[in-house]
Symmetry: C2
Subunit: 246 residues, 2 copies
């Protein structure tokens, strides 16, 4: 038995998210389906660094699984890509120690959130950036707001109220903004992220950027430990899981 680690990319548009759900097309179930065929019907379970929601994309999600097949990792990648649907690709594959775990060993993650500030959004971007219809935020205000989020905080206000974990303390290492032509990207790195956390941060900082709330209000929102205090959850299709650190 060997354990393989894979870096994968997927276009989230036509998936009901990462996690397997009965009767739904998900990233996990599509990969497990192919692996199960490769293992002559034996169900192979894959483990990811974490879930992503419907329409959320990944350019650097990490999974692991155990296999009895002795195919070299590089050939394994080619074989999987030949059978996977084209909206999932294995970018890289390597054999790892049998105690490596994609989720429990993750030390940090990087996400990217994309807004497109073109007045008319290109049809080619409709599933990949959130359109602002020409509205451009004041990025310096967003940076000021983001400064309050960087560091170790209880992020209860910045996760879905239903989040079923007790400890909501996480560390954000950095939040940076980049313009790529008319696209504004927010790049966020941290030790880990709660359910909807990146999207609530994106939605709240956007409101700061367009003057709907003050940058310094972010401090009060964190302290309130109340989801109601933060802004709206930004749409899923602007979000990319870009890298998992081990």
């Amino acid at each position: 038995m060997r354990r393989l680690k894979a870096i994968i990319s997927y276009d989230g548009t036509h998936f009901s998210g990462y996690q397997a759900q009965p009767g739904k097309r998900t990233v996990q179930s599509e990969i497990e389906k192919v692996l199960t065929v490769m293992h002559k019907g034996e169900h192979i379970r894959i483990f990811a660094s974490g879930r992503t929601d419907a329409r959320v994309h990944a350019t650097g999600q990490v999974i692991h699984f155990d296999t009895t097949l002795s195919i070299p990792a590089e050939n394994y990648k080619v074989a999987l890509n030949a059978q996977l649907p084209a909206d999932i690709r294995i970018l890289d594959m390597e054999e790892v120690s049998p105690d490596f775990h994609a989720r429990f060993d993750a030390k940090g993650k990087r996400y990217r959130y994309k807004w497109n500030c073109d007045e008319v959004q290109s049809p080619f971007k409709r599933n990949y950036t959130v359109e602002t219809r020409g509205r451009k935020p004041d990025v310096s205000k967003m940076e000021n707001g983001a400064a309050y989020l960087v560091g170790t905080h209880d992020f209860t206000s910045f996760c879905a109220a239903s989040t079923p974990v007790d400890d909501k303390v996480r560390t954000i290492y950095s939040i940076d903004f980049e313009w790529h032509d008319q696209e504004l990207h927010m790049v966020i790195e941290g030790s880990g992220f709660l359910y909807n956390m990146v999207r609530i941060i994106a939605g709240t900082l956007w409101e700061v950027g367009i003057g709907k709330r003050e940058a310094k209000s972010i401090k009060d929102i964190i302290e309130a430990k109340n989801r109601e205090m933060a802004g709206t959850t930004a749409p899923p299709h602007g979000l990319y899981l870009e890298k998992v650190y081990y």
Copy 2:
């Protein structure tokens, strides 16, 4: 009655091509449906510079139509975009002379054909570039082959055998190749193009680039006036109608 000209963009992935066909989702029928609602049920016919096939994209298709509505062109654009599906966008709209015709007045066109030479094709490119699975052609050979095509020729060998036009003489102004990271683009401009002409040129020059045929064979193919002599028709999803000249 006023005549409006519009520059439009569409992601061809989910259309059965440009032209209206009963029971199919097409670019023409989606736009006409919205215009007909705006005109309280009166059917408004649109005219394009030419058709595009299923899965072929456009970043600069041109259409015209007549309207009884007195909305200024810029507001017309906004109103149409608000009602059109997100895979079609009106990029620009202006009032033109009542004798302007999107098809008959077109003096030339520019198309772009995209190959992606990454070893593993990003899921985000699957509908927008043709994957070569890491294979890279010799572009200088393609340029040598392209040189035979530039100019005024009978392009019978480079159009679908069923093409229902008598005069197959067209002028190609230029064929250029550009690398954009791992993407190879062929940019072709000409007076007009026959059915499948750009895709047959792309498919044939690709075969020259990978050494399957000689650059100088292009001359013989043109002279043969026989579709069988040219290469395969390259897939539709690599093709973009980029500009129409008037």
